[in-house]
Amino acid sequence: MSPDFNELVGGENATPEELAGLRRVHELLLSATPPPELSRRLALPPRIRRRPPRIPTGRMRAAFALAAAAAVGIAFGLGYSLGHGGPLLTVTRSMHGVGPLASASALIEVGKSEAGGKRELEMTVRGLPASARNTWYELYLTKRGEPNELCGRFRAGQSALTVVRLNAPDDLEEYTGWIVTARISGQQSRVLLTT
């Protein structure tokens, strides 16, 4: 039998606003699965290195950025080349918000190469405002920071999270990044998320 809110909380000492907040929590708890118990294996954090990697600064950062960009390019090229009829290989990329939507984020999971020169992708976006009438979002692959290949359009609902399935071209190694833009019918788009 589900617990009764009035039995749990009563209400004689609470303001209506407080009661509404408590009822919301009550409903969330009713909808939640029981939290799992940790096994002995998970009783402690995993063994870790002495120190986490540090972010380099100044000139070192620029040098590392160049090296990293080269490495990512090679990895992209190698990975997607292998995807052409090779072993199953998927790629995950994370995106972060920019400007007023700095707290937004997204995760793109790209599937293996499929017939027709396309790859299916799934994007999970958090923190995009719900789409108003005649507005939508667009996911682009970019070259040197400029939108180049449209992967698809989508709209966001009231949920904090939006999950969409779109398509990417087969030759991902030709591109350098991803962006999500907001588009209002008849107006220029603006970038909201980037890799």
Binding site: L8, G10, T15, E18, T33, P36, E37, L38, R51, S103
Partner: protein
């Protein structure tokens, strides 16, 4: 999740007592972890291990793989903590994204498709709703960790063991009034902890 744990604005002393206890935010723990602070990392683990395991069980559907994903998630958190930017938002969404990434790595490592095992309440849900539910469960499981043990016990007995307040009192050998007080205070604390993430 509770970043920062805002002081209660309650006018009710019964409901607001001890809710405003200051805690270190998840973001602050991530920043400390990036400097090699093992204690901060351990605190993050204590706060999030069960939430990540819950997410992994729902997504991967297998206890062994889910436990692997939990370990991979926290290894990634240790390695990547320096990439967390407090100005971009609280720590919970960042941790959620890292956890999902770790689970994607699990699929890739095995070369198979995600199970996305739905729980009973999500059988009819689409991808958006499933993702929303995963985020909600993640936040709820995480928020339970902010409760003192005695408050958490009454919540778990009420909601997941479906015991009445009287039965909880008998089980814990405490007065019924104490059960009611602890329950109210627990819900109040959870309301504060969940406010930012589940508006």
């Amino acid at each position: 999740m509770h970043e920062p744990l805002a002081p209660s604005t309650s006018n009710s002393p019964n409901l607001s007592a001890d809710v405003a206890t200051p805690v270190v935010s998840d973001g602050e723990l991530l920043v400390a972890t990036a400097t090699g602070d093992r204690k901060a990392f351990g605190e993050l683990y204590d706060r999030y291990a069960r939430a990540v395991l819950g997410l992994a069980l729902a997504r991967l559907g297998d206890r062994g793989r889910a436990e692997d994903a939990v370990q991979e998630t926290f290894t990634s958190i240790w390695r990547a903590a320096a990439t967390y930017r407090p100005e971009r938002g609280p720590g919970a969404p960042w941790l959620f994204t890292v956890a999902r990434n770790a689970m994607s790595n699990q699929w890739r490592a095995r070369g198979d498709l995600p199970v996305e095992a739905p729980d009973e309440q999500s059988l009819e849900l689409g991808p958006d709703e499933r993702a929303e539910q995963a985020w909600r469960s993640f936040c709820i499981h995480r928020s339970l960790e902010v409760l003192p043990a005695e408050q958490r016990a009454v919540v778990e007995l009420a909601y997941w063991h479906e015991l009445s307040q009287r039965e909880i009192a008998a089980r814990l050998a405490i007065p019924l009034g104490t059960v009611k007080t602890r329950t109210r205070m627990a819900l109040q604390r959870l309301a504060v902890a969940l406010k930012e993430d589940l508006q």
